[in-house]
């Protein structure tokens, strides 16, 4: 048996860039982000932008997200989205 030289082109040799990271978000009554928790709780001061992304609806796992560009009370800007299929929140640069 030939030992694996590590040179074979495999899918796992690739690593994603800008993969979404799970985030704890408190929603308001309208389902929009009211506060987030990264180490500590930070309130969302303003929602500066909002857009919806629906894609790959023909696949078994379609993509349906609502992105928010938010300004936190601390002055930090953040792009986060809610996965409309699972209901989970993620942080991701757009």
């Amino acid at each position: 048996m030939v030992a694996d030289t590590g040179k074979t082109l495999r899918a796992d040799a690739y690593k994603p860039v800008n993969a979404p990271e799970p985030l704890k978000v408190e929603e308001n009554a309208a389902g929009q982000p009211a506060a987030i928790r990264i180490k500590r709780r930070q309130a969302v001061a303003t929602i500066e932008d909002k857009w919806r992304l629906d894609d790959e609806w023909w696949r078994a796992e379609p993509i349906s997200r609502i992105y928010y560009n938010v300004l936190l009370a601390s002055g930090q800007r953040l792009v986060l989205y809610k996965d409309l299929i699972t209901g989970a929140w993620y942080q991701q640069e757009y």
Binding site: L9, A13, Y14, K15, N18, D55, Q92
Partner: protein, 395 residues
Amino acid sequence: MRILCVLLPHFPWRCEVRRNPTLAGKPALVVQSKDVAGSPKLVLDWAPELDGLQTGMPLQQALALHGQAALISADIPCYRAAFHEILDALEHISPLVEEADLACAYVGIDGLQLIYPDDNAIIAAVRAAVPEAFLPRMGIAGNKFLAYLAARRSPPGGHQVFPGDAAPLLKDLPCDVLPVSLKSLEKLREFGLKTLGQVTTLPTGPVQSQFGPEGKRIWELAAGIDNTPLYPRMMETAREESATLPSVTVSLEAILFTVETLLRRVFDSLISKGMGVRSLDLWTRTWNAEQWERTIRFKEPAMDLKNALARVKRILEDYPQPGPVEQVGMKITGLGYPRGRQRSLFSDMRAREHLAEDIKQLESRLGNPQIYKVKEVEPWSRIPERRYALTPTSR
């Protein structure tokens, strides 16, 4: 192009007879062992009157046929030096001399009509250049393969000229005369193709499809076509140094000390010319006349003793001697000037090459990909994580 092939049959044995005339007429085998301790001895050459022998045959097998034969250890540097003397002499006849193998040379004889009006004059000149004791066989033809066959068919000391269309002469020759791989020769036998004539009756296509790229060459050679150009010897300054040790030794330090002395002599003469050593053939001879030889090539010409010696030391450590060493020698086969460290207009490119080399080295030591680069996968995608990916730099 017209080519003269000079074959010197039983060259090693004849060199031995020249050195020791009492061997003449006696059954003797010239034997050689690979430069690994304990490896079996192989037959390199033999006295012409002994039959049934082949070059590379194990000594045991040869002794089974000729048990009474005396054994002579091959002295390759000596044979090579003698052959180079002959090549030097042939270069006085034509500047185009190719050293094909030990005891086989090709000479380009085009355009020599004013000096040598006909083939007989050239043959006479070659006979005068090669010592009579070597009984050269000579062949003249339109290409190297035909010239070689003509030389093989000529009697010792004689010559043969193949005409332009040699196909009728070739058709009955066995396929074994073809200078192709052993595998192809075996395959020819398996197909029942015994003579060159049988090969040429087949169309080129099927031969090529059965034998791959070599198929075309097989067919062409069988038809007497050989487009291989003549590769004349390159003029180069060769320098040889050797020393006999005061006593036989297995000590690496003692051998290294001798090598250092020889190298110092070489570098002393090179320093004034501003040259360095690009490659050298290092050889040793053991007390029982076994030969060890290694060619050492330097990536950049070694300009000082320290650099050269460090490399030689590694080689001596990695390839042990077959026995106690009696003689050490070297032949400087390549000289060169120091490589200028030219700054590149495209410094980024050079830096990238160096970086890629370093990464490769890192990965070969640690295994898995270690350094990644960002690659555009679907930069137009609306889904952010699909736009780019990290891929191993070596892919």
